[in-house]
Assembly symmetry: C2
Homo-oligomer: 471 residues x 2
Amino acid sequence: MPRDEFRQFGHEIVDFIADYFENIESFPVLSQNKPGDLTAALPKSAPLAGEDFGNVIKDVNNLILPAVTHWNHPNFHGLFSTSASSPGVLGEMLSAAFDMKAMLWRTSPASTELESVVVDWLRQMVGLPVEFRGLIYDTASISTLHALAMARERLNLGIRDKGMSGRTDLPLLRIYCSEHTHSSIDKAVILLGFGARSIVKIPSNDRFEIDVEKLREAIADDKAAGHLPLCVVATIGTTATTSIDNVNRVADICERNGIFLHVDAAYSGSAAIVPEFQSYFKGWERADSIVMNPHKWLFTPFDLSVLYVKDLDLLKQTFSLVAEYLKVTETVMNQMDYGIQLGRRFRSLKLWFVMRYFGQEGLIARIREHCRLARLFANWIDADPDFEMMAPVPFALVCFRACPSGVEDLNALNERIMNEINASGEAYLSHTMLNGKFTLRLSVGNIRVEERHLQKVWKILKSKIGAVGEH
Amino acid sequence: MPRDEFRQFGHEIVDFIADYFENIESFPVLSQNKPGDLTAALPKSAPLAGEDFGNVIKDVNNLILPAVTHWNHPNFHGLFSTSASSPGVLGEMLSAAFDMKAMLWRTSPASTELESVVVDWLRQMVGLPVEFRGLIYDTASISTLHALAMARERLNLGIRDKGMSGRTDLPLLRIYCSEHTHSSIDKAVILLGFGARSIVKIPSNDRFEIDVEKLREAIADDKAAGHLPLCVVATIGTTATTSIDNVNRVADICERNGIFLHVDAAYSGSAAIVPEFQSYFKGWERADSIVMNPHKWLFTPFDLSVLYVKDLDLLKQTFSLVAEYLKVTETVMNQMDYGIQLGRRFRSLKLWFVMRYFGQEGLIARIREHCRLARLFANWIDADPDFEMMAPVPFALVCFRACPSGVEDLNALNERIMNEINASGEAYLSHTMLNGKFTLRLSVGNIRVEERHLQKVWKILKSKIGAVGEH
């Protein structure tokens, strides 16, 4: 593409994005497409001859945009609300252009070094000690996979070389986590060859935190049965309710038993930069590894997950494997040695842009405000007899349900309310089941979210209950 | 960031990229930084207050740019030469802005459906039958990991549920590949818990292709010993020399023994769109899974790897795990069911842009030209007594070495030549060892590469030999 053409279409796309962010509230949150709509609108095969790029941009407007569910919409409250800030998007543009594959230091000094610097900045911001070294992966699923692979390597059972099949000397390996732990743990355990039966799901207490006493018992029982504890996963900010496991007490058990401790702070980690939330993170500095996702709540475009580990050499020992064509003489950090992926995108650039543009103070203020808004919404729930809170609100997720008197099947009611709201495109909520109760989840995390957005959701919710009353 | 500010800095970055691509040859290919230079130039901590974004752009120019190894430089001939085309970069810009996490169809209909459409376009272009269904992952390492996980699942040994530890009923599982197979296979095998001893590296013939007879013997021996063959990996376009395993003959063996066949075409797959190269891919339609990387040789910014599988249900069975907050009622493809990562970036957009802008004909013409250039360079080598070819050139990689008469240690000579060229910033070559011989690798794959770039390398190489003669 000639320089002037790239310039022209690049400016058009920048303007498109600027308008998109500005007008984001004019779109339905959830795409109003039906399954198959986009597919049906596209040709069955790639064009033989090249097309004018202007046509492509037209199709973005006419075909792609209606098929987008707008994660950037401030009324996207489902799953975890996230957003791509403008400086983050600018960072992605440049990373795409540089197109470095960080395998060796020499193939991408910028990516290798900026990553180390930026994850160390983040480490300081969240108050972790200097012994933690960070690496950037794509997603928490992959970060967690690496953590559990490290735990396996640390057992010194020769699994890297001899594997687990065709052996009779391996006890059953066990991984412990609460019933509220994220499914990425299950997936990693399965992928690593431990099998689902290796996962011991410890019940949680009435605040959805791991029952530490039951964890202690499970480990003792397993050891008595000849099983080998491999790892405990504690979560700060579970996905269903953002509940907080007592990491200090879990760490006591891990230390006593010599078990690898992984802390999942994929969602909440960003909140550790806010001084008054530091207390939620007590004990995480005792972990062997911690995952946190700036692409969730630090306004960084997807994907960027950080894994902090204390023993970087162990991570290298788990993964390093150097083919001849990748051998070099420099004694430097070659990122390919620290993970399953040989090459890495230049992800640190966008996080660096975000940190510099907003500054620590700007990031703290935004996360603090999200948590204030969530507590405000929780207050409205608390004060209304037609609604009830279903879980505490340590961060910026509100778990609640409608409970108007005279309605027998509250689960059906709440499911209907959620589906109606989502289908309308006005807002997007998701749900979870807590003790058999269908629970609505409202997540506050968008960089553009304001009090009026929560007022809008609240008004809609109230109108749904009004409609129930009229039946 | 206010709309006008984003517009201003967005345009600045677009112009920066336009100029960067235009002036790419003015940069040294390999960064001239020393390890630690960038780190030393950056503050130790993130700024407390937000900064003017103009300062950030200044630092990109002053600090980041000198630390970039320019994969976009047409004289980057190391590893595999790749490049980010302009339409691909424009696609990444938009993907970053939409910031969708494709887990559920409903959270990203555009990403879910466009991905299926685009990988089907690519399937047709490379001539694979309709039974192959494609999924986009980040890297070939991850695609391959999924393929081997599927192979494990297909064994029906209950590994997903029971795992491999604490069992005495599992035979040693074995994975077969040639000694030239990419290290990502080794990494996947280790990660999946098979252990390095599960990998059987079959010797290759004098064309660096898997010795099929030895493969047959190894499998027969293993079966006689009570081991269980799990998978064979055949490669079309190995990393060291782009050699091509005889997939048809390998497939015969796999079919006879009921073994899963994975084909690694990560590098070469893009060349299958060129009609006269189709013969190199004979038999790959018999594979259970195939990986190819548009981010390598289809002008798509990193990362975008496609895994084609015949049995999509098996892939789902390997990975599906649905938490309550992700349960939905639509009967649609939810991409989270097909991989280790819960969420996926909107990667298909950039590939769609590339396919439409260049058209099939434009892409074919560029890859054809790269192969022509590589053969031309090989002809220069062939015609010069001071140099010799070290491997056939089916695609666009030339393996060669200098061999002037009178030099005793040719390995040392060629290593020195490579290091001098790389250090100069004039061009970047990498190497491999073939039968103990230090071999230079020249990869042609950049969208901006022309004959003059190869002439430049050839001239430098000749001058190095001239210098030898003068000693």
